[in-house]
Symmetry: C2
Subunit: 235 residues, 2 copies
DNA sequence: CAGTGGTCTAGACCACTTA
DNA sequence: AAGTGGTCTAGACCACTGA
């Protein structure tokens, strides 16, 4: 009934090669034109197959660089008390972090509302990108209330912020409100992650409170195929 | 720098018409060939524009029926104690439920592990699909431990299962383990939701426990652009 | 510079739905 | 039967990358 079209059968064959390890995780696929020759299909069909596998999270692309086999998903608890760093170590994944910017500036309206401050009040904004096994998969933007975090810009901001909040500033985090949705990446965020504008992502918003004070607000954009979330829920 | 290509400018123009209400939520877009004529582009470019808007969650398609403007996202707390039914009512959304199948059968390995039973032990399996504002957006598969739910197949299974568990069987739910990930729909699930095989979805797995007993396991597949999740987290 | 993916054209046939 | 989206071909040029 199904699997009769050219692009579906090409996708199935590639999937098979990925499954049996002929194409290893992280490795580059043959170029689109090679695939056309190898499998006797037009480039449109080859690309349709690649798009299908991309939607399924089997492969991903780096803008104009090529198509690559996806590594296993990263498992993540957004209500974490532990840092992503620690989590990655537990899963034997290599994690790297790059600081993109850090400054004191006025927060977007929605963030100001989350932080319960006036929209004209400046906050610390820290933007970073993070890679799991060398692939950039996470863009994070953290907003810190100025009053609670004196001297924040002098801290080592490429290191764990969770640890910094806990140890340098002495906050014990007890409650977090979390919001998860699917959202397209805008052009700037997409470029940082080396993907196309509009690429679907999992957006996670987190309001961080300590002793009934909202002290920070974070926004994370995860490439949708790179992450799996675990939440321990209570009634 | 950007927005110079044919498909991007077409996408932008459609987005504008959706934004200003010229194309209302739920309404059908002009056919692909009409768009080609109207905007003087090839069909490939027109489809690229539609795919972009689809990835952004602005529009969706029903297999071979056409493209439609997406209604607002449904907001949902997966650690809910209230039923989806009640939640929809609160958001003034119309919700409908259709029972697809219900039977006593052997559970898949992964589910048996979640339920902490042997892989050969039969469980009640209830499959349903649900629509928000007439669009099928959710496929749910519930596995109930046989011993805790005598006579389950005689219950009104198109009604709220949350309420049934609570009132007919007398369980008060206190804890739930939840797993959220992006997953492609297999062909059977896709057909029930009238979308294409491989279409990305948000998959939610929930282990339901009451008094430290695992009584049920649920799996939900949400169309990724239809839902936003709110989680109240604690440390 | 050669090769890559990204974009694009102008056609075509098929499977399916609706009238 | 007419119209839709789904698939497909065989080309083409461009922007960008890496050697």
């Amino acid at each position: 009934m199904n699997q009769t079209t050219a692009y579906q059968s090409l996708a199935a064959r590639l999937q098979h090669r990925i499954g049996n390890g002929e194409l290893a995780a992280g490795s580059k696929l043959p170029s689109e034109r090679s695939l056309c020759d190898m499998f006797k299909v037009s480039r449109v069909s080859a690309r349709d197959a690649l798009h299908l596998l991309e939607a399924q999270g089997m492969i991903y692309r780096l803008n104009r660089l090529g198509w690559f086999v996806s590594p296993p998903v990263f498992i993540y608890d957004p209500t974490r008390s532990s840092s992503i760093q620690e989590e990655a170590h537990r899963q034997c994944r290599e994690l790297s972090t790059e600081l993109l910017s850090a400054s004191l500036q006025v927060a977007p309206t929605r963030v100001a509302r989350g932080l319960e401050i006036s929209p004209t009040q400046p906050v610390y904004v820290v933007t970073r990108r993070r890679a799991v096994d060398k692939r950039w998969v996470l863009l994070e933007i953290c907003y810190f209330k100025e009053e609670y975090f004196p001297g924040l810009l002098e801290q080592p901001l490429a290191a764990s912020l969770t640890v910094m909040v806990r140890e340098t500033y002495g906050f014990s985090i007890r409650e977090m409100d979390i919001n998860i949705s699917s959202a397209p990446l805008d052009i700037e965020h997409a470029q940082h992650l080396q993907v196309r504008e509009g690429c679907p992502s999992l957006r996670l918003e987190r309001k961080v409170t300590s002793n009934n004070q909202t002290i920070a607000f974070e926004r994370e954009y995860w490439l949708h195929d790179a992450i799996q979330m675990r939440v321990k829920g209570r009634d």
